[in-house]
């Protein structure tokens, strides 16, 4: 409700300029844009997103287990809960280490090859 109000007031107040061709082009430091902006982009964004979604899911699954941890200390099932959390975390860390070792987490591949003192 607030936001439409703000936009609405703005609509009443602001000047209505003419939609000239030049103004409506996207800003590229004064140059005319070349080609469409909808270009293909680096695949690394996507790999990061894949790793992210798995950890996201893992995070959502571990919160309920974490909430019972405190109770489990007093009622004697702490070993089970701890090993459960540990196993869960450890398995995903294996996945992370796999990606790490295979170099999927490197944003720029091969930069170190050109390091001057190597």
């Amino acid at each position: 409700m607030t936001v439409p109000l703000m936009l609405g007031v703005g609509y009443l107040l602001r000047p209505k300029g003419k939609d000239t061709r030049r103004k409506m082009t996207s800003y590229e430091c004064g140059e005319e844009p070349v080609g469409s902006a909808w270009i293909k982009f680096n695949i690394r964004f996507y790999i990061v997103a894949i790793v992210f979604i798995i950890f996201d899911v893992e995070m959502a699954a571990i919160f309920p287990a974490a909430t019972v941890f405190k109770e489990s200390i007093t009622n004697g099932s702490v070993a089970l809960v701890f090993s459960e959390i540990f196993l869960f975390v450890a398995l995903l860390l294996i996945g992370l280490i796999y990606c790490w070792v295979r170099g999927d987490l490197e944003w720029v591949k091969g930069v170190t090859k050109f390091a001057p003192n190597k």
Partner: protein
């Protein structure tokens, strides 16, 4: 919110159809109006003042006493700006995208524990609630940048989205130790447990600030802070808006109030993150070593709420100040450093902290450092 509960009760005759969640929405609305919007505005002023101080300038000083009404002037200026949508862009998404950002960051205000008696809605999934609503920001940035049909915007938006989603994991995992300690997701409960008083008996649930519960939570606090910085695109993690590379990043094509909405969303997000650090690790509304409700004599509830609110705000604004301070202290990271830091640095550390806290809890039967030192429990 005792008064408001009575107020709500008296209104039930008219608005009886509303369930608890409806009331939560309404109180969220009130909180947004009276807290989020002024804060969003004021934060720009504070930010400019701090920036000026650090650079030995005066900063805004024309509008009102010491330039205090600068934010109102800014808002009016933004409202009166012409606002246009690039020709090749996607009008619908262009209009929609800023709303995601604002809704995502402002809704989180509803569960911030301003005081024991002043929480918009102390829902029992409070922590998850904040994590959930702030995820709306990433699609907002991504869609907005796509809709502008601008290469800089798109690149900035993609960087922003992948940065935000990446750092969501360390943020959530650094909250996890707190959940382990308190066994609850309700923010009111979590804060209440962080009390400690030297005048009188401590209840068994009190274990002082979570940051000092054990060494691992101390590190978790910093992880949460760093992750929060990255999630809100603040320096040194402001790559999506890197002027030298990407003009202005995802909001290059946005003008007028739409740009204002993005800025508002960002500042609200900074506040939410700082409030989260305060509430989850720095004791929330508790004055250190002093519980104003256990002084031996009873203070009126209104006064308690008033004091607690101010304590909470002072702590939060101190964290916000650190955020703004860092802006003029640290250089910007490179994009590969940014991602590497998240996945290879913060994430393993956060896991380490979770396991360490769990081990500590197991070894010391859930007692905090303070309880061990003072021999309580």
């Amino acid at each position: 919110m005792v008064q408001s509960a009575q107020f709500a009760h008296s209104l039930e005759g008219w608005f009886g159809f509303l369930p608890l969640w409806g009331w939560a929405a309404i109180s969220a609305f009130i909180v947004i109006y009276f807290l989020a919007l002024p804060f969003g505005g004021l934060a720009t002023y504070i930010e400019r003042k701090i920036a000026a101080d650090m650079q030995d300038r005066i900063g805004p000083n024309r509008v009102g006493p010491i330039g205090l009404f600068q934010f109102a002037a800014d808002a009016i200026k933004m409202l009166s700006k012409e606002d246009f949508i690039p020709k090749g862009g996607d009008r619908f998404l262009f209009n929609l995208a800023p709303l995601f950002v604002v809704v995502g960051s402002c809704t989180a205000f509803a569960v911030l524990p301003l005081s024991k008696y002043l929480i918009g809605a102390d829902v029992n999934i409070g922590v998850i609630f904040i994590l959930a609503v702030t995820t709306l920001i990433a699609p907002g940035l991504l869609l907005g940048s796509w809709a502008s049909e601008n290469k800089w915007s798109l690149l900035g938006g993609l960087r922003a989205a992948s940065q935000i989603v990446s750092y969501e994991i360390p943020v959530a995992l650094s909250i996890l130790p707190v959940v382990l300690i308190s066994g609850s997701l309700q923010i009111g409960t979590i804060v209440e447990q962080q009390g400690w008083t030297v005048f009188g008996e401590n209840p068994a649930t009190y274990h002082f600030w979570n940051a000092f519960h054990n060494p691992f939570t101390f590190f978790s606090m910093f992880l949460l802070f760093v992750g929060g910085l990255a999630e809100t695109n603040r320096i040194p993690f402001d790559l999506p808006e890197a002027e030298s590379e990407l003009v202005s990043g995802f909001n290059t094509e946005f003008s007028g109030m739409r740009f204002g909405l993005y800025a508002l969303g960002e500042f609200c997000d900074v506040f939410v993150m700082s409030a989260m650090v305060t509430a989850l690790f720095l004791g929330g509304w508790h004055i250190p070593f002093l519980d104003i409700e256990k002084l031996g004599f009873a203070l009126p509830t209104g006064l308690v709420a008033f004091i607690q609110f101010h304590v909470f705000m002072i702590k939060t604004l101190l964290v916000v100040f650190v955020v703004m301070w860092l802006r003029w202290t640290l250089p910007r990271l490179r994009v590969d450093q940014l991602m590497g830091m998240c996945w290879k640095g913060l994430l393993p550390l956060a896991f380490f902290n979770v396991l360490g806290t769990a081990l500590w809890m197991w070894a010391f039967k859930g007692q905090s450092l303070m309880q061990l030192l003072m021999g309580h429990g």
